[in-house]
Amino acid sequence: MPSTRSTRRRCSPRKSKPLPATRSRATPELLLDSVTGVDLALPVAGAGARCYAFVIDWLIRAILFAAWYGVAALIYNGRWSLAAPLNPDPRWFVFVVAPAAGTYFLYHIVLELALHGRTPGKRVAGIHIVARDGSSPKVGALLTRNVFRLVDSLPLFYGVGLVATLVTKDHIRIGDMAAGTLLAYERADVALPNAAGAEIASDLLSRWSALTLDTRRQLAVEILSRYGYGGTATTESIESTATDAALRAQLEQLTRGPAG
């Protein structure tokens, strides 16, 4: 029968294990206790990744703003001029100003809602917004963290948000504090190792000491030439270079899969 339990969350600044990307070893992690008893660790993005994502997003929305305004203003004016009309005209606001301003100011809210806490800039930086239980943030949380940009952007260039990101343990700005969110690195997609090769290698290793030197060498070379070294090595090249101990080490490596 399913049981109910609220998950306990904690964010620990402990050093992370080696990660596949080029992140610092000092990357803090959000540790989530799962109901299964198997912990999860989310590497938390710091000020650098945040700034990187923000700059890319800012460039995109600035380009979108300028593109819409430029094209719409040219169409509205009917000549090579981007100037606003002297007398305010509803069509000018509805077709030129409002969509351009909307694109610029609603960019984060709309994209984060549509892409479940991601924007193009965050994708490039390899980060995304997560709730503190590791799930995708809810609509209310995304709206709240975006409304608090009003505070984070003060006094200039997101000064408050940047300072908050630098001084807080989880590298979060005020909006994240209010919404209960943070930015975590995306986990890179990892390909599974060749299961068949690993299985055969494991079988050979279990009988390693029972086999004669020549037999196990012959079998190891055969397996490694087929499944090891990324499939690039030939039987002859392995046989000529590898010692018995080296062959065994290679087989053990094959059972574990290549290290990340």
Binding site: M1, P2, S3, T4, R5, S6, P20, L32, S34, V35, T36, G37, V38, L40, A41, L42, N87, P88, D89, P90, F93, V94, A98, H116, V130, D133, G134, S135, S136, K138, V139, G140, A141, L143, T144, V147, F148, L150, V151, I174, M177, A178, A179, G180, R187, V190, A191, L192, P193, A195, A198, E199, S202, D203, L205, T255, R256, G257, A259, G260
Partner: protein
């Protein structure tokens, strides 16, 4: 008597080899679990069995990840399982995607509940606003020169000529543009009053106080030139709701500030988060109400041909509609007493 035979255990190395081999035979199940969680992260389960299988997948991945962490800690298998397990976790704990029900619940239940929860804050915010209106009125009534602190030179000059700055405004700016400008500005001010609560409520207090002082000061100033009646007639259609919304967003900001000053949840950060998320729902209602008052202010308020009784009727009618929408006096469980813990049905731990 014979000694009991102790079962012979294989050496640890061989046992681990065997366990690794057994683990690697499950790669097909991992891949299908990863594919299912990837699919269900984008769409809803096609049937109950599909959803239940997701929970089983989660247990499977957790179980195998625990083994992989012990048996092959530096392997790509462990990394793959970490990634698949995390994705399954996010999928399983994803919020149900029911936008229509969520919107209905928001407007029917949640916003009125937030208003009831914020009743003390609304009373205090309104009291502060009214007091500052009185203070502004008294200041300019007693020391007329102080109007330069609250109003622009153009506005002062216009009133001194015996005119309201709102007269003939529609000849300069079309109603649609005026509405858009006003409602955008009002929504930003409202949101700022809420966010400024982060400074322990002082920012909210400042915005409420400043707006109250300005309103009182301008009324006193127009009264000195015999234009206070005209100003009242201009303000009344949209102002009833607009000023009420100012107090509501101030109350939301005050709740955020109070959560930081005296945390109710034990932890200051958690308390701030709960207050911000809860009171933030009211801001959605505030924004919608300000759209309505912006339209009224752009289309109706500046028109000289609208009778005073009609202006009053519109103002009071819209305000009553706001009360009906927010239902502050309805009985119900307030969020303060409602359970805030999100209990979820979770799969049983692996055997």
């Amino acid at each position: 008597m014979t000694r009991a035979q102790t079962p012979t255990r294989p050496p640890a190395d061989s046992r681990d080899q065997a366990l690794r081999a057994a683990l690697l035979q499950r790669t097909g199940q991992w891949q299908s679990a990863a594919a299912r969680s990837e699919r269900l992260s984008r769409e809803r389960a096609s049937n109950l069995a599909d959803a239940a299988q997701m929970a089983d997948d989660y247990r499977l991945l957790a179980h195998d990840l625990a083994r992989a962490r012990r048996l092959m800690p530096d392997s790509r298998v462990r990394q793959y399982l970490e990634s698949a397990y995390l994705r399954a976790h996010a999928t399983l704990y994803r919020e149900a995607n029911r936008p229509v029900e969520a919107l209905l619940s928001l407007f029917r239940d949640e916003i009125p509940a937030v208003v009831r929860w914020l009743r003390p804050h609304i009373i205090w915010a309104t009291a502060i606003f009214v007091l500052t209106v009185g203070a502004g009125y008294w200041m300019v009534h007693t020391y007329p020169d102080l109007i330069s602190l609250f109003a622009s030179p153009d506005l002062i000059a216009t009133v001194q000529r015996g005119q309201l700055w709102t007269e003939g405004i529609l000849n300069i700016v079309p109603s649609s543009v005026l509405s858009l400008q006003i409602l955008t500005n009002n929504i930003v001010v409202s949101l700022f009053a809420y966010c400024a609560g982060f400074v322990f409520g002082l920012g909210t207090l400042y915005i409420l106080g400043l707006n109250g002082l300005m309103l009182g000061a301008v009324f006193a100033f127009t009264g000195q030139h015999g234009l206070d009646g005209a100003l009242f007639r201009f303000i009344v259609p949209h102002g009833c709701v607009e000023l009420s919304v100012m107090c509501l967003s101030g109350a939301a900001g005050a709740a955020v500030g109070e959560a930081l000053i005296r945390p109710a949840q034990g932890d200051r950060m958690k308390s701030f988060q709960v207050a911000a998320l809860r009171s933030g729902k009211l801001l959605i209602a505030c924004a919608l109400l300000l759209v309505g008052s912006g339209i009224i202010e752009g289309y109706l308020s500046p028109r000289a041909d609208i009778a005073p009784w009609l202006r009053l009727a519109v103002g009071i009618g819209y305000w009553l509609a706001m009360i009906a929408f927010l239902r502050p006096f309805a009985s119900g469980v307030t969020p303060r007493t409602a359970s805030t813990a999100s209990s979820r049905v979770t799969p049983a731990a692996p055997q």
